[in-house]
């Protein structure tokens, strides 16, 4: 267990000393500032535009961190051969992998805190109050980042950085879009039944959409932006279920990555 903590702390140190993190954070904060202008130009409520846009940027910022840092976390160790010395110590390979992941999760927590503080500042500068429910949105964004980072780590445990980045991005897109696509297919099905002569979509389209929906983590579950922005009620136990979804997928992906990783040769 101690080994896990040492590796996590080292991974945290590695990431916070990485310039790319600050570049990403800089762009995220720049976009937050841009949301003030966007709010002023918009015909909708300025407060809602600022909040909605900033929360969206937070989610994309998390994706960028997962891709640019998460994917490189293991690959850099392999390419720079630092892994040879580390794995020659009495540590299990899964400890190495999980330790690296936990280090990055600590960075994610720090990022979320910085981004939430920036959102508070943007709202304050624009003369709007900070709705405490925004903290719930930040919490859910953290879980989205944690899961997508686990996805990135999973792919990078057996493939190249470019392929891992593309696959992680594909999972992000497919996961966010699959729910909407299924809804669309359902609507199409009903419409086809009502229009004489209309041909229904082939069965494999719906089957593929359903498979993608259930084979991938549902990142849309962590998207409570519209609920928070429009002050809608959250269903009972929503946070518990979404947290369990995040934990479940993270544990599953880390377990799978560990199995792959433990079978690898380090030439």
């Amino acid at each position: 267990m101690r080994e896990l903590i040492w590796i996590a702390l080292s991974s945290f140190r590695e990431t916070v000393r990485d310039k790319i993190l600050y570049t990403l954070l800089f762009f995220v904060l720049l976009l937050f500032a841009f949301s003030i202008l966007l709010g002023e130009w918009s015909v909708f409520s300025q407060q809602k535009v600022i909040t909605d846009f900033s929360l969206g940027v937070m989610s994309l910022g998390g994706l960028a961190i997962a891709i640019f840092i998460g994917v490189g976390l293991i690959q850099k160790e392999i390419q720079r051969k630092t892994i040879l010395t580390l794995l020659s110590k009495p540590v299990h390979r899964w400890q190495f992998l999980v330790g690296k992941y936990l280090g990055l999760v600590m960075v994610l927590v720090l990022n979320i805190l910085v981004m939430t503080a920036a959102l508070w500042l943007v709202l304050k500068l624009s003369g709007f109050p900070f709705d405490p429910r925004l903290l719930l949105a930040s919490y859910e964004t953290f879980w989205e980042m944690a899961v997508i980072t686990a996805v990135a780590l999973f792919f990078s445990s057996f493939s190249t950085p470019v392929v891992s980045s593309l696959l992680t991005f594909a999972v992000f897109l497919a996961s966010h879009l699959s729910g909407g696509i299924l809804q669309y297919l359902e609507t199409m099905k009903k419409a086809v039944g009502k229009i004489p002569g209309a041909t229904p979509l082939p069965a494999y389209v719906e089957w593929t959409a359903k498979t993608v929906r259930f084979a991938l983590p549902d990142l849309e579950i962590f998207n409570i932006r519209s609920v928070v922005v429009h002050s809608l009620p959250l269903p009972d136990m929503y946070l518990v279920w979404s947290t369990l979804h995040g934990i479940g997928w993270t544990v599953f992906l880390m377990a799978l990555s560990s199995v792959w990783f433990s079978r690898r040769d380090f030439v």
């Binding site: 040492w6 080292s10 051969k81 040879l84 030439v267």
Partner: protein
Amino acid sequence: MNLVEIQNFSKVYRLGIEHGLKKVEAVKSISLTVPEGALYGFIGPNGAGKTTTIKTLMGLLRPTSGTVLLMGKNPLDPASRVQVGFQPEQPYFYDYLTGQELLSFYGRLSGVRGQDLSKSIEEACDLCKVDPSWLTRRLRTYSKGMSQRLGLAQAVLHKPKLLILDEPMSGLDPMGRRDVRLAMLELHKAGTTIFYSSHVLSDVEEVCTHAAMVVRGTLRREGLLSEILNNPDDPEHRQKLEDILAREVELA
């Protein structure tokens, strides 16, 4: 007791798609043992299979066939590495860390903690001629020779029973080579068993008690160095490792 036991070990690499998924047999059924107390030189030309064997011993590669035991255990079991120190060929380190941070990190992973850690770091640096002033510098500013010495320091700081070094003299100037050789002799004198690969055959002749010679993945000679150097079956009575190795390369 044998700290390393290798029986009929073979390793086959599968090349990538760009090479038509061809298979290459890097090590062909080699067997050797490293007894406790030995200073064991593992020699052979480039591409002979030395690093593959060492990486397999450290659990970084899986054997294709045969048995490999480190401290009597499967090298894939982390428990086998508790009393083992390892320095890879041309050690690469985290360039964002300072020397002190790196040694503390590796020391903790090797089970050295608390006050023992600073004492162990001090002793290891002293032994490997790592200047204390280097320790506050980030590793990206280290020269190759400094990295090599730090590599040896991280391998010895938990006072392992067995030290496995892959080309520890590589990239060092003559003074550096001398320092590493002296450090190895001091450790050996203190009871550490050392298994190391090297191209510097004169060093092996000078310091080793045992040696193994591999050529193109096959083991050509193994055992006490004195027996290898005084082989009664050799009609030409070669008494230099360089000559013996050259002959084995010709025969292989």
